[in-house]
Amino acid sequence: MNCEEAKLDLPEYLSHSLNEARELEFAAHIAGCDACRSETERLGSLWKGLSLLPGTMPSPGAEVRERFYESLTAYKHGMASAKPTWRERFAAFWPAVAFAGLAMGVGIGYVARPAGVAQNNGSEVAQLRGEVNSMRQMVALSLMQQQSAGERLRGVSWAYRAEPSDTEVLSALLTTVNNDASVNVRMAAVDALHAFGRSPVTRTAIVQSIPKQTSPLVQIALIDLLVDLKVAEAAPDLKKLSADQSIDASVRERANWALGRLLQ
């Protein structure tokens, strides 16, 4: 072993990860080479020090673990609500499909094929559409449960792509409107509720949410939504709001204005 080779083996020698023969060669080299022995001692001391450094470093905060388990639960929930993909289904049924195709080819004859293909295409498109919808739902639901407000906003924007009949996305949006820590996310979720406005659940939930809100901005957005959706049955609640002195003055004014619009 020469000095050049010894230098390259030095870190592994210090980590005791050289094989026995190589380690012996290294030891023999430094026994006869002052420069390499001195370097091994100097760097060896730093190498040992490096192994002690992690003990002097900060540990991650407890909330890292909390966030991880929350996110994992959300992900599992998202996975459970997602249907198997078109490819997975195709792979599962491939032997049957192959057999059916063969039987068709032999028994029915080539002329029957165009009609069968057209039918398969139709059901495949429907299946794909269903899968796309469930993927959109999964993405929206997963993102709405993220820690970062930016991610949750993305989740809300995905909710626009969900079907208006999707009760899971509606439920997630209502939870966001009522509980999200960020006013911006809550406001975005209120806007996204427009698409679900036909559902009586949405209409009742909007009315119930207004007094729970701590932000006048969100309260006003909810009142505007009631007007947009023409929720006339909200009139008694709006009357109460407009008379409640504990509520922000601008909210009371807006409730009054909404009453006028709904009772026209």
Binding site: L8, L46, K76
Partner: protein
């Protein structure tokens, strides 16, 4: 990870408990920001879920995880380009919060200097030392993570050690001057 890859995503919790501190140390060593490092730890485990199908059980899990960690770090740096990131000073402490009997004041001082020397290294040199010494990665694993030959890793680790020695000596010189 093979179980996670096969769909048993709840087993990711085992990997989280085993590796999140090491990942955090790696990120803190590279960016000196607790907040950014905590976000990156989350990001890495999310990416593991997202890309679990790409995991090859024949390869080192640690190498795969640190490949993801490096990508996450690069992505975050790009997102934060232009932002001013506060460099945090972390108090000296052991992981269990109490000084060990073997830990003399002189040793504590030496470790402080060593950490400062490590911080002074260029990121590529700091990274290879952190991965190899803090995380105990073998040269073969490092070659995977850094996408280079094992021979190159040997050269790079040696050079990083020499650079650390120089930085450490310079700090001692500054202290005694």
């Amino acid at each position: 990870m093979a179980a996670v890859s096969a769909g048993e995503v709840q087993k990711l919790a085992v990997l989280f408990e085993r590796h999140h501190r090491g990942l955090f140390r790696y990120f803190v060593s590279m960016n000196r920001s607790r907040e950014a490092s905590e976000d990156l730890v989350q990001d890495v485990f999310f990416r593991m879920l997202r890309y679990r199908a790409s995991y090859d059980a024949k390869q080192s899990f640690t190498a795969w995880m640190y490949q993801i960690a490096r990508n996450a770090s690069v992505d975050q740096a790009q997102r934060r380009r232009g932002e001013v990131i506060g460099i945090e000073e972390f108090a000296d402490r052991r992981a269990d919060g109490a000084p060990g009997p073997e830990e003399s004041a002189a040793q504590t001082q030496d470790l402080k200097l060593l950490r400062q020397a490590l911080d002074r290294l260029p990121p590529d040199k700091r990274e290879i030392l952190v991965l190899s010494r803090f995380e105990g990665m073998k040269h073969e694993e490092l070659a995977k993570v850094l996408d280079c030959e094992v021979g190159t890793v040997k050269v790079r680790v040696y050079r990083a050690m020499r650079a650390l020695e120089q930085a450490y000596s310079a700090l001692i010189g500054e202290k005694t001057a």
